[in-house]
């Protein structure tokens, strides 16, 4: 339970930074080249609720809100649960850092390119599940070596 609290707290703090980075790369726009870095808006909005996930006339579609940060925390908790009990605090921190970067990249890539993800099945659960598979394999190989 302590690990999960740490993961959620870390994601709430770290997610807006990663969201800002991948937004400025323009990676979620399907008609622009990858890693454009030509984002001209200097200011960046943080929303409390889930009001900014899709581009509309009123909102810009960053998806930078606490709801998405909590979803990122859920994906990280799923991923870390594969090695829960076999890993320590440092591994948890590394999983959170790498996982949050990958989560936001995956989310922005899928945002406008995928047909249907109404339940966040691919963004949260499939990403967390396959990251858990990779982490479990790493832990298994490390234990085999020892």
């Amino acid at each position: 339970m302590g690990f999960n609290l740490f993961i959620v707290a870390f994601c709430l703090e770290f997610y807006p930074l990663i969201n800002n980075f991948w937004t400025r790369t323009q990676i979620q726009k399907s008609n622009s080249p990858l890693l454009d870095f030509s984002y001209s808006n200097r200011y960046y909005d943080l929303y409390l609720a889930n009001r900014d996930t899709l581009p509309t006339a009123e909102y810009t579609g960053y998806g930078n809100c606490i709801t998405n940060a909590l979803k990122c925390g859920l994906a990280m908790a799923i991923a870390f649960s594969a090695i829960l009990g076999r890993a320590g605090q440092l591994e948890c921190l590394l999983v959170c850092i790498v996982g949050t970067i990958g989560y936001e990249l995956n989310r922005q890539l899928l945002q406008e390119r995928i047909g249907s993800d109404s339940f966040e099945t691919f963004i949260i659960f499939t990403y967390g599940g396959f990251m858990a598979l990779a982490l479990g394999l790493f832990a298994y190989l490390r234990e085999q070596k020892e």
Binding site: T53, R86, S118, F119, E120, T121, F122, F125, G128, G136
Partner: protein
């Protein structure tokens, strides 16, 4: 005196009770993940409500599928298969929930996901137990494999 190895692998009743309570809370709040998604595109329509209702039905069907599978495969009901079956049904049906307007398809896909979840998890755990290795199957089978299954369902229903 209780045998040491038996004590090591025995689940306490308190842990089982917490598991059931957690599953009940998930049963109530989990479908609302589909309620808010794509709300701007489908605003002023009833899609958000049918998507949520589809996931509730899929969770119930997955629970029944996991229970039936557990009775056939193990000879008795394993609580883990039942609770995981409900979550598997939600995840596998969730990706396509915007396109499911007939509740029968939600029930069928949830039932299939509940059975496949129990099958994969029990097969992998039995094999790893024979090899003497420790494999955590909950995260990648329950979430990863069922997410992949949900992608197949979404591709099928979208067209």
């Amino acid at each position: 005196m209780e045998h040491r190895s038996l004590k090591k692998y025995t689940c306490s009743s308190e842990s089982a009770l917490n598991s059931v309570l957690g599953a009940l809370i998930i049963f109530v709040f989990f479908p609302f993940l589909a309620y808010e998604a794509d709300a701007y595109i489908f605003q002023n329509t009833f899609i958000a409500y049918t998507a949520t209702a589809s996931i509730v039905l899929a969770m119930g069907a997955g629970l029944c599928g996991g229970m039936i599978f557990s009775m056939i495969f193990n000879g008795y009901i394993v609580l883990r298969d039942v609770t995981h079956g409900a979550i598997a049904g939600a995840i596998a049906t969730g990706a396509a929930s915007l396109y499911i307007l007939n509740p029968a398809w939600a029930i069928i896909s949830g039932f299939i996901a509940g059975i496949l979840q129990g099958l994969f998890q029990n097969l992998v755990e039995n094999k790893s137990a024979r090899n003497g290795s420790i494999v955590t199957t909950v995260s990648w089978i329950l979430f990863g494999a069922n997410g992949f299954l949900g992608g197949l369902f979404a591709a099928a229903w979208k067209d």
